[in-house]
């Protein structure tokens, strides 16, 4: 009885609560991955001598650049409610082709541009089938995973193609600028651009809109198919950039590069709190997720465990992350 006469006055406080809850849910994923990242770092700092040394930390950053770059693009893909399983294969194809192009005498800047364009075209083709032919992204990119790696194997015959160590191309993977490895610098630039695009531009807003309610976004006059097409072009191009950086760092292009890379990328994005249902993404979360995946791989090796433990641990972490992701976001997806 006492609450009835003044039903309206009870609204504002209830909504304030909702706002706080909103923030926790919105940032809950980011907060828990930040915590998990710190716990992992502390664990390896205590249990191994080598982890918390400057050379090792810089090494982690250098090695995680391809992961960070592709995970940034994958955040857009997953936020639309899609997935791109072909990223590891595109990485392998562009790594081998950049080595082959350099061997054939193509100038290195042109080789890089060609690889980025190739990645974009692969994304365009896959995106076309997903956006315009309405074939599930999982199917299209699973086929892409197989086909594209097949091309890489076919081109190299399964061998790796060496890159001349004197070529300026390798500086992309090996140079140090202001005490920071060049791949890390590239990753930082990509992440900043991705963060701004995701949070501050119309494109980023429509990526979220497509994932949250594609029909409402379409009715609002947004060309939702083109948005979907573009996120796959982005992930293809990002994978190509990762392939270039990897081959430059290793000094060779191997068709076996990036096996299981898609799992690391998806783990990074999902760990970072981006919802697999779409509509909710966080680039800060993705950065933390990618660094966590990188730290785990590095720390497990330093712990002198068998290197074969890494996929087992990564697999379990993906499972737990996806389980939490579903539990956290299932209710949110209901409204679609």
């Amino acid at each position: 009885m006492s609450s009835e006469p003044n039903a309206y006055s009870s609204h504002p406080p209830r909504l304030r609560d909702a706002t706080i809850l909103d923030k926790v849910v919105a940032n809950g994923g980011v907060m828990s991955i930040a915590l998990f990242f710190i716990v992992c770092c502390l664990f390896f700092a205590v249990t191994t001598d080598a982890f918390l040394t400057a050379p090792n930390l810089l090494n982690i950053i250098r090695q995680s650049a391809p992961l960070l770059i592709v995970a940034a693009a994958m955040t857009f893909v997953i936020t639309t409610g899609g997935i791109d399983l072909s990223v590891g294969s595109v990485l392998a194809l562009t790594a081998t082709l950049s080595a082959a192009a350099l061997q054939a005498g193509v100038p290195w800047p042109l080789a890089i541009l060609l690889m980025l364009a190739l990645g974009g075209v692969v994304g365009l083709v896959q995106g076309y089938f997903i956006a315009y032919e309405r074939i599930p992204a999982f199917i299209v990119t699973l086929a892409g995973l197989s086909v594209i790696r097949g091309f890489a194997l076919l081109i190299t015959g399964g061998y790796s193609i060496p890159i001349e160590p004197t070529s300026p191309f390798v500086t992309i993977g090996r140079a140090w600028v202001l005490g920071i490895p060049a791949p890390a610098l590239i990753a930082i630039v990509v992440l900043i651009v991705a963060y701004i695009a995701f949070n501050e531009t119309h494109f980023g807003r429509y990526v979220t809109g497509v994932g949250a309610n594609a029909e409402a976004t379409r009715r609002a006059g947004v060309n939702t198919r083109r948005i979907i097409l573009w996120v796959y072009i982005l992930s293809g191009t990002a994978s190509a950039a990762a392939g270039v950086i990897l081959s430059a760092r290793l000094g060779s292009g191997s068709s076996n590069a990036g096996q299981g890379f898609e799992l690391d990328v998806i783990a990074a994005v999902v760990l970072g709190g981006t919802s697999l249902f779409g509509g909710r993404g966080s680039l800060v979360g993705t950065i933390l997720g990618a660094l966590t995946v990188a730290v785990l791989a590095n720390g497990l090796i330093l712990s002198h465990l068998s290197p074969f433990f890494t996929p087992i641990v990564t697999g379990f972490i993906i499972l737990v992350a996806i389980w939490l992701n579903f539990r956290l976001f299932k209710d949110g997806a209901r409204g679609r």
């Binding site: 909504l15 701004i196 501050e200 531009t201 807003r205 809109g209 409402a216 006059g221 947004v222 509509g279």
Partner: protein, 266 residues
Amino acid sequence: MTDTDVSRVRMTGISKRYGALQSLDNASLNLMPGEVLGLVGDNGAGKSTISKVLSGAVIPDAGTIEIDGRPVSFTSPAEARAARIEMVYQDLALCDTIDVAGNLFLGREPKRRIAGVPMLDKKTMHERARDMLSNLGIVIPDTRMKVENLSGGQRQSIAIGRAASFNPSVLIMDEPTAALAVAEVEAVLELIRTVSKRGVSVILITHRLQDLFLVCDRIQVMYEGRNVAERRIEDTNIEDVVNLIVGRKFTARSAGHNHQERGAPA
């Protein structure tokens, strides 16, 4: 002036068939400027279909539409919007994970340029969203709240507010109060009154007959794709409307007086 005599909307002879089902059969609809028309009928009577024809979402097989006396034929919702016809869709209108201002401006977000690059102008967007909502008397504490955290009534208000912000001359609402708690219905009805006072013609589809008597000027009853009756609100009552909807004399327990004859099929 002649203005007041010309219908805002005149739909005549509208037919639409889905496979074997004649969803609309020579249906018509007339709407005056600033009028609130209640569209009622049993489930499947064709209310949603005729309103979708008007909003450009469904293309009729036959029939003519006139807006302010000029014949039109819409092939897409965009064309209807250009003719200042807006429809509030019940479920499909909002993006849950986007905030209130973002939903109000979805697809037409204000821009600002930083170093030549177009970006969302969130500050302007929130300011204008606050103005829009307060002009319509919609109470939302913070335009940065995500829509998923709003009540059903607030969500419906945002959807109507969004439609109203396109400055429509016709606003169609398909069961805007169906999913609302009783206390929230009044706010939506008040919003309909506010909008219609500004000269917007409103088509309200609802099963809540008591709402009709609070906001409508006129009621049109549909039955199996046809118009069966039309009543000015002051000439009818709930029992009469119920009878017209079910298509027979409904001997309600409370019926204590004579019923009017059912209107002849149009």
